[in-house]
C-alpha cells in the first residue's frame, strides 16, 4: 500500500471515507472528477490499493492521448490478421487488466463510437478482440476520470446518457487546491520527505519559512501537479526569491496555455516525460537521449500517419505521396507503429 492521500481538508477526508466504503465492492464503477493536476490518478490508485484487486494489474489508458483510430485496438486488442499488417495477436487493456483495474483517464474525450463499445462491455461483461468473433469475459474494475462536465457533454450530445449513469455509480470529486489551502503545508512536507528519501546523496534541506509561507499562500491554478513541480525545482536545483516569483508567474501562464492547447500528442509526450521525471536516478540510467528521441518520433509519426491515412480513406499510395515516403516505407511504418484502421 504505497499511495497516500495527503491532506487534512474536509474534501480529502470525505474522499478517504468514500474509498473506505466502496473499495471492497469492485463491481461499482467509479468516476473521479476534478481540474487538471488535482491528483485523479492518485485517488484511482488509492482505490485500487485498498481493493482486493491490488495484487493484479493497474492499467491506465489516457483516452485523450490516443487517437480514436487506435484507442479501440488499445482497449480490446487485435486478432492476428484483423487488418493488413496485423501479423500478430495483441492483447488489449481490458485483457491486461483482467482481475485488476482499468483506469480510463480523460473519459470525456472518448468518441461516441467507442462510448457505445464501452457501454456494451459494462452491460454484458463481454468484449471481442478486433477481428475476432470470440466473446471474451471482462473481469475488470473500471475507474474513469475526467476534467470535463459530463452533464454538459450529455446536453451537447457528446456523451451518452446511459453510459454516464452506468459509470457514475460512485463519484469522487477532488476539489482544486485553491479551495483547500489547509492541505498545502502537509503536501509540501510530504513531497520534501519523498525527495529527501529519493536523493539521499544530495542533502536536501526543507524550505526556509519565507518560501514555505509563499507557497502556502499561492493559488496554484495547476493544482498539486504544479506545486510538486515547483517544489522539485526549489529543492533539487534551488532558486532565489526573484526566480521563484518568475517560476510561479510563468507556471501560471504555462499551465493555462497547456490546458487550453493540449493535444493528444502533447499529452502522450508529457506522459513519457513524466515517466522519466518520476524515475529514481538508478532507473534513469536506462533512459538514453537517443531512446527518448526515438519514442517521441514514434508518437508523432504514428499520429501524423494515422491522420493522413484517415484523410485518404486508407489509400496507401495516395498517403505515401502526401507523406513523401515510398509505398514500402509506409507499409513498414504502419506495421511497426501498430497503426490500425478504425471501423
Amino acid at each position: 500500500m504505497s499511495t497516500i492521500l495527503v491532506g487534512i481538508s474536509p474534501g480529502i477526508q470525505k474522499i478517504r471515507e468514500i474509498i473506505d466504503l466502496v473499495s471492497l465492492d469492485t463491481a461499482l464503477n467509479v468516476v473521479i472528477t476534478g481540474e487538471t493536476g488535482v491528483g485523479k490518478e492518485v485517488v484511482a490508485r488509492a482505490l485500487y490499493e485498498s481493493s482486493p484487486r491490488h495484487k493484479k494489474e493497474f492499467v491506465k489508458v489516457n483516452c485523450a492521448a490516443i487517437p480514436d483510430t487506435l484507442l479501440e485496438s488499445e482497449l480490446f486488442g487485435v486478432e492476428q490478421g484483423a487488418y493488413t499488417g496485423a501479423n500478430r495477436k495483441r492483447k488489449g487493456k481490458f485483457e491486461l487488466a483482467d482481475g485488476g483495474v482499468l483506469f480510463l483517464d480523460e473519459i470525456g474525450d472518448m468518441s461516441f463510437h467507442l462510448q457505445a463499445k464501452l457501454l456494451h462491455v459494462l452491460q454484458s461483461g463481454e468484449y471481442n478482440r478486433l477481428g475476432s468473433e470470440n466473446n471474451m469475459k471482462s473481469n475488470t474494475w473500471v475507474i474513469s476520470a475526467t476534467n470535463h462536465n459530463l452533464k454538459q457533454k450529455i446536453e451537447e450530445k457528446e456523451f451518452r446518457e446511459d453510459l454516464y449513469y452506468r459509470l457514475n455509480m460512485v463519484r469522487i470529486n477532488i476539489p482544486p487546491l485553491r479551495e483547500r489551502p489547509e492541505d498545502i503545508p502537509e503536501l509540501i512536507r510530504h513531497y520534501t520527505q519523498i525527495y529527501q528519501d529519493k536523493y539521499t546523496e544530495r542533502k536536501i534541506t526543507p524550505l526556509d519559512p519565507e518560501t514555505f509561507n509563499k507557497l502556502c499562500h499561492f493559488s496554484w491554478p495547476g493544482n498539486v501537479r504544479q506545486l510538486i513541480s515547483v517544489l522539485q525545482r526549489i529543492l533539487l536545483i534551488g532558486c532565489d526569491e526573484e526566480t521563484l516569483d518568475e517560476i510561479l508567474y510563468d507556471k501560471n501562464n504555462q499551465n493555462k496555455n497547456a490546458t487550453d492547447t493540449a493535444t493528444p500528442i502533447y499529452g502522450q509526450l508529457m506522459e513519457e516525460l513524466q515517466e522519466i521525471v518520476n524515475s529514481s536516478p538508478d532507473n534513469m540510467t536506462t533512459f538514453s537521449l537517443k531512446q527518448i528521441k526515438r519514442n517521441a518520433t514514434n508518437i508523432v509519426e504514428k499520429e501524423v500517419i494515422s491522420q493522413v491515412l484517415d484523410i485518404t480513406n486508407w489509400n496507401r499510395t495516395h498517403a505515401s505521396k502526401i507523406l513523401k515516403v515510398s509505398y514500402k516505407t509506409l507499409l513498414t511504418k504502419i506495421d511497426q507503429l501498430d497503426i490500425i484502421r478504425s471501423n
Binding site: 470525505k14 471515507e17 468514500i18 466504503l21 466502496v22 465492492d25 463491481a27 461499482l28 446518457e161 446511459d162 454516464y164 449513469y165 452506468r166 457514475n168 455509480m169 460512485v170 463519484r171 469522487i172 470529486n173
Partner: protein, 129 residues
Amino acid sequence: MTSKANILIIDDNTVFLDMIAMYLTDKQYHVLPAKNGIEGLKLFNSHSDIIDLVITDIIMPNISGTALISIIKKKRPALPVIAISGFGEHPITLAEELKADLTMGKPLVLRELESQIALLLPPPSVSTV
C-alpha cells in the same frame, strides 16, 4: 404484540426524505433516515441485521442509489429494496438490472408507496408477552 418494521430511507432531497419519513412513522413503521449515499451506506453497515426494507433515491452525489443497491443485494440478497428516481428511464433500468425489487418514478404517491411496502415486507413477527 407485533414488532415495528425497520425501514432505511436514503434521499439527498431532505424535503422528500422528511416527507416519506413522517408519513411512514405515522403508519407505525420505524424509520432510519439518511440524507445521502454515504450516510445511508454507513447506517446499512451498522444496522444490517435489523433492517427490513430499504427505500433509496437513485441519483445522489458520491455514492448513488445504484451503488447502494449493488452493495445491499450482495450482502442481503433477500432484503427488499425500492428505488426511486425522477431522472427518466436510464437510472430506473440500471436499478432494475441490479435487482431492485421495485422502481418508482418521482413524484411519488405516498399511499401507493405504503401499499407496495406492505406487499414487499415479510409478514410481521408476532411475539407474546
